[in-house]
């Protein structure tokens, strides 16, 4: 399915007519010419330097001691004597551990809310017949036209009137049951064949039993996708917590980092260490769960 036969750049016309036929059964790279393979790897490595290089540079800066010149004209990617002192300096400047804890609390609420709320709603919308369903769906679909930034001001007014301004619950609440995720879970439940369900109905199973025993085991893929997206979305978010939170004690990591860079512009090593504290956990989550990620994106879990 992922076959694109690109001959070497310099000799396209000499392509033997028999080669495409041999490639038909999947083993694409077996028949790829050596020069093309080398060229592809060179380009891949080039793209790797561009996409990952800046992170490596930041990591390297964060590990350089105060005695090492970070401004040398020949960039030094390996620190001469790696040290964690910059990470300690971050902790001395801002309460970074409590910021990390705050981010984690917000992310956990987002994950739990979406996992429960969107699963229940998705199941009801996909598998149960009731009046008002079409209206509800139409309204949910309608909300997708609004970028979050459009309603962010009045969202703040709502959260404030609930007495939740400057709280972590206030940060997590508005997206704790995201409408897009409701639609994604509905799509996942709809993919379960009705025959499986009908048998259970005839056996007298309640809606709840059908959800637990037939529904859930079949939507685990989509469920993991929406929870991963909820986690990363909450962990990375900046604008909304920036609006809701005012007391520096309550900051999440992203807001705290911006605060750190404002307070500490003089030392790039410390800021670099701060960014790594926010970045490394999400990379670990991503690296562990990446196959769900890509499956989710392929299934159309595209956030606009």
């Amino acid at each position: 399915m992922t076959q694109l036969t690109t001959p070497p750049a310099d000799a396209p016309a000499k392509k033997p007519a028999s080669s495409p036929r041999r490639q038909r059964r999947g083993s694409g790279f077996g028949t790829m010419r050596r020069r093309e393979k080398v060229l592809r790897y060179v380009l891949l490595l080039l793209a790797l330097v561009v996409t990952v290089g800046p992170f490596v540079w930041q990591l390297s800066t964060s590990l350089k001691g105060a005695g090492e010149n970070i401004y040398t004209s020949t960039p030094q990617f390996i620190p001469s004597s790696p040290t964690f002192e910059n990470y300690l300096r971050v902790a001395e400047t801002i309460p970074v551990l409590s910021y990390a804890k705050n981010s984690l609390i917000v992310a956990a609420m987002a994950v739990a809310g979406n996992a429960v709320g969107c699963t229940l709603a998705g199941f009801a919308l996909a598998k149960l017949r009731f009046r008002g369903r079409t209206l509800f769906l139409a309204l949910v679909l309608g909300t997708l036209v609004l970028p979050v930034e459009v309603t962010i001001v009045s969202q703040y007014v709502t959260v404030r009137s609930l007495g939740l301004a400057d709280t972590l619950v206030g940060v997590a609440l508005p997206t704790a049951v995201a409408m897009l995720n409701v639609l994604l879970m509905r799509a996942a439940f709809m993919a379960i064949p009705d025959e499986m369900d009908e048998a259970a109905v005839i056996d007298g199973a309640s809606a709840w039993q059908r959800l637990i025993h037939i529904g859930l085991p079949n939507v685990r893929g989509m469920l993991s996708v929406i929870t991963i997206f909820a986690f990363i979305g909450a962990w990375d978010d900046f604008l909304w917590p920036l609006i809701v939170l005012t007391d520096p004690q309550n900051y999440t990591l992203t807001v705290g980092l911006q605060y750190l860079s404002g307070a500490f512009t003089a030392n790039p090593r410390v800021i670099a260490a701060g960014t790594m504290i926010a970045f490394i956990p999400i990379v670990i989550v991503f690296a562990t769960l990446q196959r769900f990620f890509f499956r989710g994106v392929e299934e159309g879990a595209i956030k606009g």
Binding site: Q3, T51, S73, P75, G117, A121, L146, E149, G274
Partner: protein, 290 residues
């Protein structure tokens, strides 16, 4: 066949209904209401008619923000339309290690924009890596002020958005490339078309619909840009507050004693008017794809 009790669906739907009403529909209505008031971030506010909209007409910063948005969009569009497609073409062939490259190329997408913007700040400062290397290699004789000039700041933010978006659109293209006919490529190759020729005459037409989707996504996200500009300018909006975006203005008026939620809401309505067209198109494209 036994049917469920009438309230069962609504029990399951309960949380979603509450969230739909309280955190989606009500804020949408309330944005319109607030736009006609002088509400403040700390509370209060009364009806002020069209005052906020009149204020918009005389707001120089808003003009800068809108010009910035247009530039942002125009520069991002071609770059994010083609660079991710090239990456996807590179990843398409199942070479050993290709999963590693795919994951690595996607990493900028999952990093927080704040993290990336702080990395950019360090890379682009006067004595940073970019200026250092450019001087070393003889491209520059003295450092370029990437983080202080109005336009340089804007282009630095654009470069950040493009870099962070590469992996995102790459994945979208990657799944579309699976549907491009291999026979067409082979036929073109047999006819003597080189890789560049075939990229333009086979790959690009083959992912036409996806390109439309990507251009709408890029347009919307360019109009919504916030974090990149906020962090790169350290919240100031650059020299004279001229390197701001519309969302940055909305945020600025949402905070503190000097804030003005009424005006921020009027600006939000403007953002809605600008984005609703592409958003509707996006919804249609997504439904067609599903």
């Amino acid at each position: 066949m036994k049917t469920q009790r009438w309230f069962t669906p609504w029990l399951l739907l309960g949380p979603a209904v509450v969230w739909l009403l309280v955190f989606n529909l009500w804020p949408a209505i309330n944005t319109v209401v607030l736009a006609f008031t002088n509400a403040k971030p700390l509370g209060g506010g009364s009806f002020t008619g069209l005052a906020n909209f009149e204020r918009m007409l005389n707001d120089d910063q808003l003009v800068y923000a809108l010009v910035n948005s247009i530039v942002y969009m125009l520069v991002c569009l071609p770059l994010l339309l083609f660079l991710p497609l090239l990456l996807a073409v590179l990843l398409e062939k199942k070479l050993p290690g290709i999963t590693f490259f795919r994951t690595a190329f996607y990493t900028p997408v999952i990093a927080s924009a704040v993290v990336v913007a702080l990395i950019w700040t360090w890379l682009l400062e006067d004595r940073g890596l970019v200026n250092g290397l450019a001087q070393q290699l003889g491209f520059l004789t003295e450092p370029l002020p990437f983080l202080s000039g109005r336009w340089l700041l804007l282009f630095s933010a654009i470069s950040l958005t493009v870099w962070k978006g590469l992996g995102y659109y790459m994945i979208i293209y990657l799944s579309a490339l699976g549907n491009v006919s291999r026979q067409l490529h082979e036929a073109a190759a047999v006819d003597g078309a080189g890789p560049i020729r075939r990229f333009w005459s086979v790959t690009v037409p083959g992912v036409r619909t996806t390109m439309l989707l990507v251009s709408v996504l890029v347009t919307v996200s360019a109009l919504r840009v916030f974090t990149e500009l906020f962090v790169l300018t350290n919240g100031t909006g650059g020299p004279g507050g001229r390197t701001m975006s519309l969302v940055m203005l909305i945020q600025m008026y949402s905070r503190g004693f000097t804030g003005h939620l009424g005006y921020a809401s009027a600006l939000s309505l403007l953002l809605f008017v600008i984005t609703v067209g592409p958003m509707l198109l996006l919804l249609r494209l997504n439904r067609k794809a599903a």
